[in-house]
Amino acid sequence: MSYIAALNKRLNVLYDGKVFAAEENGCLHLKGELSDWQDIVRAGLISVNPRKYIGLVNEIRLTGAQIPAVKLPKSADNTLEGARPDVLVIGGGIIGCSIARELKRYKMDVMIAEKEHDVAMHASGRNDGMVHPGVDLRRGQLKKKYNDIGNRMFKTVCAELGVPFRYVGQYLCFTSVWKKPLIAAAPLYWKAMNVPAEYVNRRNLKKREPNLSPQISCAVFFPMAGIVCPYGLTIAFAENAVNNGAKLCLDTAVLAMEVENGKIQSVLTNRGRVYPKLVINAAGVFSEDIAKLAHDHFFSIHPRRGTNIIFDKKAAYQVRTIASSMGTLDKKSGHSKGGGIVSTVDGNLLVGPDAIETYERENFETTAESIRNITDKQKRTSPHLDNRDIITYFTGIRAATYEEDFIISFGKFTSNLIHAAGIQSPGVTAAPAIASDIAKMAADYLGAAKNEQFDPIRVPIPMPVSMPQEKRDALIQKDENYGVIVCRCEEVSRGEILDALRRPVPCDTVDGVKRRVRAGMGRCQGGFCGPLVTQIIAGELDIPLEQVRKNKDDSNIVFGNNKEAL
């Protein structure tokens, strides 16, 4: 029996004849309708077969619930009408921004279209910032290839971009006593996989991470695990790209494409029609939509939600590196996201994430249930975690394909298109390597020459709090704004906030400032500095206070003068 026939037999039994599979142009398409999203995802996971098919396209319709449409920017104009960039990068996440920067190493006009009001607004700004050593990756995966290369590029890339980064190492902890000999031998396997690893017995673990659970019997240490601020890095990529001449178009959404003879002729945005020679799809959870518009629909995204919790710096003593426990891996789903405890570059503890399949691609809600599950689970690794030290939590949505691997390739049916799709964990780690490869592919395609003027260096916003006293004093003598502390929890000065508003990637929102200089990231969550930051933004942009927004359309903070605003 053929694969399809066998699969259809199975689907028929499982879903009562409501679902069937068919081959179209080398892709496996699933059709039919189901009322439970989890069933739709499961059907996809059962059916996927990357060896036989180009990709799995899950077209099973969800009945009984409306999948929310893409949220589009409210504004529209004609400012981009007729633009003819060499490359249009769709998506201003870490993938899109790092690609744009790499593209500028070649002589090309680069335009980035991002539908949100800032970069890194989706998955890139909503993850744990871990630079993965590649513990759970397998040979043959693109994830593995790009993670291995990317991991080793981090030091250089972050130094060039002025982004804090540290290889802190990760402990994978075990409670089993009888498996100890097996675990002790396991580093050999990882070393063979090009992942440096070291066995650590209970006594040494106690010395190196004294506050982990006494239940832990031993651990494997991965020295190549690192931490970075993922949105900080994305902003840095974007700024460096812009400084090298890339054009970043925020609030710019792709609405349609004109495709003829297997080529994208033009791309319609809310700011006019653009005529790129080459399109790069880095649209995250929307990369399937872009593929569809480009007549190159050979994969599907099943979004997977994950929540992370940030703990007060007071809790930072509990874990100095990254710690996760074996046995907290989600056995049901089989994929990696067991989560862990990360000591962040900013000195907080970050705990999470969980993994929940969802059809809502932009629902960043948090739930009490997620917080409970995450803390219950991670307390097994770090028993001192105390919910009273939680300062905030956030949700991100991973863009997983059914193949559970990255897609880094030219279009299968459309020639002037490159996909950087299906990028989920370890997307942050892989980004520099993916960007470098895709830029080479683009340069080859367009026959572009090297750009001798490219400057890889980005000068970051000064951070007085981490400067030696003399240097900090000298900075304040030059500009007194660096001596006026606005955010007391994170010790952020007025000077830094003004800098955030004057950078190459424009920022004019309270969250934009927060993501660039950490004002409002601390334990009072902007209770004190919120109104001050709002005033600084209003002053700098010369707009009334009621026009200052938290992050996007209609997120104004106040309504207008007392009594008049009604």
């Binding site: 304040i476 009072c524 109104p531 938290k550 104004n556 106040v558």
Partner: protein
């Protein structure tokens, strides 16, 4: 550059710090008063309602008027004022402290013999009480909403729900109503209001603003700006009861769910803290367990009347000015489980000062109650109350004069029902 030297350095120019600086100066000390904001007065600057000063001045003053009573005593030849100045580090030395501070003038160190922490408190946030849903604009702590309304003259809401019946929440319910906003209701997870009864009457009842007890906000909705909240009934453990959810359309959620003393500086120099007050452990002279470091006002424990904050500041300032570098021995004041907390937690046997002022709150709402204090089993003080409520702080004075108190003496505070 020579390092400037002071007898007393007061961190914080709100009501506690002002009182501390003035009283230390009165004792003849060279005082440095450090304030991180551009103006003195702390949170009083935005408290334009009246009711301040009844105990101290016998008058009902507004917050700025109350603060002015202290600010007008400046300049004072013994007080150096350092505004818009932020303390970044405190380092203990054998004979005092080196304080590193940042201002427009740069970063500099000063030396001080003693130190008064008067850094006030901050508000609990939506995340600390586990508000879930979309993280949209329009979620404010009551103090932040008050800043927008009273300092900036801008409306943070047109129609809001207030969660928590702390005093600032009650006051903001009235304030926003006066500005024309609609306050749909004040929701309180506890079975009774958390604020002073006078505020419940004057701020809610007089304005027909409903107070809903044993209910809480369980979720917020909204893309950009908040557009609705979900409220639920809660059980006796304050856990939401499924099936009781109700959606209320509004554009803001204002939180008055508790205040936390700001003691990150205190923690950085290793002061032992009291988990009940969330402030440092102190003796009857407001000195913490580190010699030379004093603490007062809302940084010590959250007060409900500013009059007591000033009193506490004055005592700390006076003690800091007279501070002698002596090794202390202590006896512990033990409060049983019927108390939310008592302050001070220790009495120093080295520098006895009588009578000892003790502030306390009962843990639960109580009817007729008798407070007794015993030393090694024998009663030395008693007082009867017709009622005790956690939101209302009580103040008593106890004279230990002539009593043999040793470090191992058992000084016990207890509350008991009276028939």
């Amino acid at each position: 550059m020579t390092v400037l030297r002071y007898n007393v350095t007061v961190i914080g120019g709100g009501p506690a710090g002002l009182a501390a600086a003035l009283s230390a100066a009165k004792e003849g000390a060279e005082v440095l008063l450090i304030e991180r904001e551009a103006r003195l007065g702390g949170i009083l600057k935005q408290c334009i309602h009246d009711g301040f000063g009844l105990v101290r001045f016998g008058e009902k003053l507004s917050g700025p008027e109350y603060a002015h009573r202290f600010i007008e005593q400046l300049p004072n030849p013994n007080i150096t004022l350092s505004m818009l100045t932020f303390v970044t580090k405190i380092e203990k030395q054998s004979d005092g402290f080196v304080i590193t501070m940042v201002s427009k003038d740069g970063i500099r160190d000063i030396f001080t013999k003693s130190l008064v922490l008067a850094s006030g408190c901050r508000e609990r946030t939506s995340r600390q009480i586990g508000i879930h849903g979309r993280h949209c604009a329009g979620i404010f702590t009551a103090g932040t909403a008050q800043y927008y309304t009273n300092i900036l003259g801008k409306m943070p809401t047109k129609r809001c729900v207030i969660l928590g019946s702390g005093d600032i929440g009650l006051i903001m319910a009235r304030r926003l109503t006066l500005e024309g906003a609609e306050v749909v209701g004040v929701y309180e997870a506890k079975p009774t209001a958390s604020g002073l009864m006078r505020n419940v009457y004057q701020c809610l009842e007089d304005f027909n603003i409903p107070l809903y007890t044993s209910k809480t906000v369980t979720r917020v909705f909204g893309e950009g700006r908040l557009c609705a909240v979900e409220v639920s009934d809660v059980d006796a453990c304050m856990t939401p009861i499924p099936g009781t959810e109700k959606i209320i359309e509004c554009d803001a959620l204002i939180l008055s769910v508790g205040l936390i003393p700001e003691n990150e500086l205190a923690e950085s120099i290793g002061l032992p803290m009291d988990y009940r007050t969330k402030g440092p452990v102190t003796d009857q002279n407001s000195m913490t367990m580190v010699n030379g470091v004093f603490c007062c006002g809302n940084a010590l424990h959250v007060n409900d009347l500013v009059d007591y904050v000033s009193e506490s500041g004055e005592a700390a300032g006076r003690a800091a000015a007279g501070y002698l570098q002596k090794k202390r021995s202590f006896a512990e004041l033990k409060a049983d489980d019927s108390f939310l907390y008592i302050v001070p937690q220790m009495i120093s046997l080295t520098e006895r000062k009588e009578p000892v002022t003790v502030y306390f709150r009962s843990k639960t709402e109580r009817g007729k109650t008798r407070l007794t204090v015993t030393v090694d089993g024998s009663e030395i003080y008693k007082k009867s109350y017709s009622q005790l409520r956690p939101p209302e702080m009580e103040r008593i004075e106890i004279d230990f004069k002539g009593m043999q108190i040793r470090p191992d003496s058992r000084i016990c505070f207890a509350l008991a029902e009276v028939d």
